[in-house]
């Protein structure tokens, strides 16, 4: 599957970006729900962060403590609210993330984390600089408990930020990092809430106490949903590995079939899911991979995975019969979102071909007559994933494949090099510029190809790609 792993071993792949999915009637997948447009979710987000501040602003207060003092307090509340909402962002609520695509949600999660912690840090620094005496001693043994809780909470948040943004540079292994990220963030929020409650200035009024208790309770319920209810649901619908097939380019195709009577989950070509292999879904050891099989397949679900990191290097040894859990589908990177497209152009680099294979196989099964074009960049001919199948697909689809190799063998007559503007231009005759474009591959490639397409006059609304390297 198209995943780009770092040296430290992290599943970097996330599904490609997308707009809202309109209902597309197909026999296999259920019609996607008409969710709220993206702008509504953005407003809901801002409102959730602003909510405690609005409560503060509209409520009574015994007396002010000075503008800077009260400004600092309000910043602290805002920071905590922003951080609390972070848990909502990564809870993978499909309806809320669908208009944006999961990858951009994670991207936003990182920025929002920096923003939220910056607010909390500002809260602390104003007090440290302007009201040092009020903070008292640093020593946890002599300082008031709530203040120590606040300091520890801030410290944990800073650790979380650094360990996440610099995870690869620090060579932190992905699974361990993820587990610690979850534990530390819960601990930090609990300490922050203890700090707020202990300091207590704004919780005197009973109604405010109710508001804060409700907010905290909702947050706890959310945790219970993510860590208990969701995994439990996944456990009711297990899969098992029926085949592990070696592919070109150090890749493997994992085939799963439902264990027990349930039907396999429906998905749209190009979507992805979080996969847990051989572990209970409560252990939170899942990794995201794109479906690589046809969405019309009534029984099995396939993922094509490249050996790039600690986890993916073990895929080849997974025995048949191993239990698996599939959390999905997620993502809106799918031709099904564009029923009116005149045709599609798929541009893939390396293992980015996996979701494209899902699209091509599905369209072939459906007998879709629209013109399709694939531009596929690889290092060498013997590493071209799905080479043989791609050679056979033009029999079933109106498909043209352009292979681009940057280490061609002698006698290669096709395009060479990387997916440079020249190569892309040469592969795209003008009529094709009206089609819908899907890009999947390493970020430098997708950035460059996107720029080329823009220069050719393709509007951004018809170029779809997904971000890699989310963690």
């Amino acid at each position: 599957m198209r995943t780009r792993f770092t040296q430290a071993g992290a599943p970097a792949a996330r599904p490609r970006p997308m707009k809202a999915v309109p209902p597309v009637p197909t026999p296999s997948a259920p019609a996607p729900s008409r969710g709220l447009p993206g702008i509504c979710w953005v407003l809901i987000y801002v409102l959730l962060v602003a909510f405690p501040l609005l409560i503060l602003l509209l409520g009574p207060l015994p007396r002010g403590g000075g503008r800077w003092w009260d400004f600092s307090m309000a910043l602290g509340f805002a920071g905590l609210a922003m951080i609390g909402v972070q848990f909502l962002l990564t809870a993978r609520f499909q309806r809320a993330t669908a208009p944006f695509g999961m990858d951009i949600i994670y991207y936003f999660h990182r920025w929002a984390a920096v923003g939220g912690v910056a607010l909390v840090l500002a809260h602390y620094l104003i007090l440290r600089v302007g009201y040092g005496d009020a903070l008292g001693p640093l020593n946890p043994l002599t300082a008031p408990g709530p203040l120590t809780a606040g300091r520890l909470s801030l410290l944990l948040f800073l650790v979380i930020i650094v360990s996440s943004l610099a995870r690869q540079a620090l060579k932190l292994e992905y699974d361990a990092w993820r587990r610690w990220h979850g534990l530390l963030s819960v601990a930090a929020v609990i300490l922050a809430v203890a700090h707020v409650a202990g300091v207590g200035y704004y919780t005197h009024a009973p109604w405010k106490l109710v508001v804060w208790t409700t907010y905290s309770a909702m947050w706890l319920l959310l945790l219970a949903y993510i860590r208990l209810l969701k995994p439990w649901r996944l456990q009711q619908r297990p899969y098992e590995v029926t085949a592990v097939k070696p592919e070109r380019g150090d890749a493997w195709t994992l085939t799963l079939a439902p264990r027990g009577g349930h039907a396999p989950l429906a998905f749209r070509p190009g979507q992805f899911a979080w996969l847990s292999l051989g572990r209970s879904p409560f252990r939170a050891r899942e990794h995201p991979f794109s479906f690589s099989g046809s969405a019309e397949d009534p029984r099995t679900r396939c993922f094509t995975i490249k050996e790039l990191g600690d986890f993916t290097r073990t895929i080849g040894q997974v025995p048949a019969g191993t239990v698996a859990y599939v959390d999905g589908p997620h993502g809106v990177f799918t031709p099904d979102a564009h029923p009116d497209a005149a045709g599609f152009v798929l541009i893939a680099g390396g293992v980015g071909i996996a979701p494209m294979m899902s699209m091509l196989r599905t369209l072939a099964d459906r007998g879709d007559p629209r013109p399709l074009r694939l531009i596929f960049g690889n290092s060498s001919w013997d590493r071209v994933l799905f080479r043989e199948e791609l050679a056979g697909l033009p029999d079933r689809l109106s498909l043209q494949v352009t292979h681009v190799l940057h280490e061609p063998h002698p006698g290669w007559t096709g395009a060479t090099g990387m997916l440079t503007p020249e190569v892309i231009r040469a592969a795209l005759p003008p009529p094709v510029l009206d089609h819908v474009f899907f890009l999947c591959g390493p970020k430098p490639m997708t950035d460059s190809v996107q720029a080329t397409l823009r220069a050719l006059g393709v509007p951004l609304s018809r170029i779809h790609l997904e971000l890699f390297d989310m963690a």
């Binding site: 970006p17 953005v42 987000y45 801002v46 962060v49 602003a50 501040l53 609005l54 503060l56 602003l57 207060l61 015994p62 007396r63 002010g64 403590g65 000075g66 503008r67 800077w68 003092w69 009260d70 400004f71 309000a74 910043l75 509340f77 805002a78 920071g79 609210a81 922003m82 944006f100 695509g101 951009i104 991207y107 936003f108 920025w111 929002a112 923003g115 910056a118 607010l119 600089v129 302007g130 009201y131 040092g132 005496d133 009020a134 903070l135 008292g136 001693p137 002599t142 300082a143 008031p144 203040l147 202990g198 207590g200 200035y201 005197h204 951004l460 971000l467």
Partner: protein
């Protein structure tokens, strides 16, 4: 493009948050009060009418700092500005001040439970410390601010 938009949303959220925080600060503090963290606690200008208050004031001031009273209270701008004690010697008698310190009596009846419990912890102070503290507080009069 989406990345740019998502950074903009983040920025918008921060602007809204900081804006609301500022409005909050202004609404509850109609006149600006700047922190004066660098000045040492001012000696009260008016002499206390009671006994040798000035002799035990330094000890009282030490106790005030030692027991982290500044985490909730400010004197001459140092400490938590929400509950300043600058005039406290003018408004309350020594007996009332003692109740204030340890969270007992009618004067403190309106305090929240959390605050009272915290103050009642000071009942464990040695008697001479309590007296010193109370005497110190009774010397605080508005000659300073």
């Amino acid at each position: 493009m989406r990345e740019h938009l998502s950074r903009m949303v983040c920025l918008l959220t921060l602007v809204v948050a900081v804006g609301l925080a500022y409005l909050f600060a202004v609404r509850h503090n109609p006149l600006p009060v700047a922190p004066t963290g660098e000045a040492p606690p001012a000696r009260p200008a008016a002499a206390p009418t009671e006994d040798a208050g000035t002799m035990i004031s330094p000890r009282g001031a030490d106790l005030f700092a030692q027991h982290n009273c500044t985490s909730c209270h400010a004197i001459a701008g140092r400490g938590n500005p929400r509950y300043p004690l600058d005039d406290t010697g003018e408004y309350w008698t020594e007996e009332e001040l003692r109740h204030w310190v340890v969270g007992t009596g009618e004067v403190t009846a309106h305090l929240s439970d959390v605050v009272r419990r915290r103050k009642q912890g000071y009942l464990n102070l040695p008697e001479e410390d309590l007296q010193a503290l109370v005497a110190y507080l009774s010397t605080l009069r508005s000659g300073g601010q």
